[in-house]
Subunit: 405 residues, 2 copies
Amino acid sequence: MAKQKPVGNMLIAQSGGPTAVINQSLVGAILEAKKQSNIKKIYGSLHGIQGILEENLIDLGKESVSNLEAVANTPSSALGSVRKKPTSEDCLKIFEILKKYGVNYFFYIGGNDSAETAHIINEEAIKAKYDFRCFHICKTIDNDLRQNDHTPGFGSGAKFVASAFMGDNLDNRALPGVKINIIMGRHAGFLTAASALARVYPDDGPHLIYLPERPFAMTRFLADVKRVYKERGRCVVAVSEGIADSKGNPIASLFIKEKDSHGNIQLSGSGALGDLLAGEVRKKLGISRVRADTFGYLQRSFPGLVSEADAKEARAAGTMAVQYACTKFANGSVAIVRKAGKSYKTDIKRVPLKSVAKETQHMPAKFINKAGNDVTKAFIDYAKPIVGPLPKIGRLKAVPVKKIK
Amino acid sequence: MAKQKPVGNMLIAQSGGPTAVINQSLVGAILEAKKQSNIKKIYGSLHGIQGILEENLIDLGKESVSNLEAVANTPSSALGSVRKKPTSEDCLKIFEILKKYGVNYFFYIGGNDSAETAHIINEEAIKAKYDFRCFHICKTIDNDLRQNDHTPGFGSGAKFVASAFMGDNLDNRALPGVKINIIMGRHAGFLTAASALARVYPDDGPHLIYLPERPFAMTRFLADVKRVYKERGRCVVAVSEGIADSKGNPIASLFIKEKDSHGNIQLSGSGALGDLLAGEVRKKLGISRVRADTFGYLQRSFPGLVSEADAKEARAAGTMAVQYACTKFANGSVAIVRKAGKSYKTDIKRVPLKSVAKETQHMPAKFINKAGNDVTKAFIDYAKPIVGPLPKIGRLKAVPVKKIK
């Protein structure tokens, strides 16, 4: 239990990659803060901690509830985002600015790096004996935050991926060939795995799924594609952008020679990995119709394509972070836990900041098949309720007409 | 007026690139055929004319209405598709097979090439004095069929493109940089132009739009991006996959050295053009955060993202083709015409097969701005009712907090 809650201002910001429901958490936190008598002003910082460092703040208390609700239903970080990993010096400066603006309640919506930032700022506050309540609010389409059954943003991203594969599988069925789709997730394969939810009929793709959790070997990939194509006359493949060889070298870096000005292989926002794999299939297997699409940024910010469970949980994460800060806990992160039982129910618990900061989690082994080229039923059971209902797919009964000699 | 309608079987098939509503036309035609006493059996050919040549037919009379309705709401050609341009010999053979199966009513759903196929088959039937009714049913996301105000499939494709840009603009606003999105349409820029419907607020992207109807010059493109980026600190660009230089050479072919086994530059199903443009921006303008996404096949077959007007018109196109064939006309194509007046209303008229076959149409000059890097209000007015309502986008009022000295 924390001591008597402080009276003061609140500041909230968003960080890292946007999601379709990140503003649900923002609005959940704002609306809950309005109910809490000990929170006075509600500040928003533009572009995460960058906005704090530049004292670029807005007054969220001046937003109408109806406008907030419209924002909640709009994808991508309404406060702007940033990919800045602050130094300890930055954190000290941030803390000084928070003090100057009378901020006793700080909320940072983001992934593991944002949790780390919140953690360091909180440590500074403790050192300075400043009466401070500091919460990290979970989000990431990658679904790789520790302590969480799943994270806000994943369900909607997964819904996009599954929907896209449903349509793309039908496209590939109409005009057969090999189709490779590259999905986000540098180290965790959850979003790529969600492509499996697209399967409705036994012959539906994706027929092969490659995750960063298993070493990728080009020869085995080509053998897999060859087998499926021979069996079905077509092959739809889901590939994580983060696939790497047994030594952990990203496949893209092994095959793609061109690098950007920083010497990096650009993974997201580039079609290079898909084109590389398609080229290999064309060249080595002699299949003529081979196509690759890279889903790119569409999968994390597509409007009007939201998992209802995801939206609700994201909202609850924001609400509960403020509630916890105003009642029981001086600091922490909120994590989604799944309740035991047959029907899908979740809860938001408070976990220590340190327990979600820095390191991430990966797909557990029980979610990946032995061959390392598909997911298991356990994954489907896990992901289905998070994603919710998908479009209905009809198919002709297709009774053959007897050939006339 | 055609002579007395024949009594016989009907055959229908789908061809070319799938769309999100192509099955609406199929189902519209089947349900109307069931009402027509002179149509006996209703055959479907699998994979267009390929299925006729191989006598790979199914009995569509055996499909339940509820199953047909489920299929109507499912994207991508339910009968399968083909990209085969038949020779005159093929057409002759097709006609012989149609005769063998007692087919007096033939319907081919597709674009300009499919209209050409229907036209040649019809000529063969006339030569042979076979009592034949032959209709082409319009579809194409490219929106380039002559005689049509717009074509079934375009509205839903445009809805996907506009929705994607709405989300992507917000993503780019949260994490600023240059974002280039490549959109389908080799010769007609309608689908790329539809990205403009994503704009809600004055600063919204796409900030630049490049269409195949105007010659693309790399230097001018870079100058445009530089100007917008300087003004706004970010830039979202819509580029048609078919952009070409003043001599008509595709930009991709001028810059990309690697070709496939057939010596072709692959445009769709490759991220090469986007990566090329992003690379130039990075290199020549020294902007570090530059990303490119290629929307690829997602834009034509995404389930659950359909323009209502598009679905209705696609259904009506199928229905009316059968009605015309069974009443007034021996052959032709159905075309969507827009009625005069303030509110959006369309009609389906019969046009000669020859008038939609082969040649396509492009964006009229009045839809493109003078600089050739955007669309006009006339285009927005034209496209808006075809696409229908788009997701609502909320934005914070964002009242600045006065800096504390």
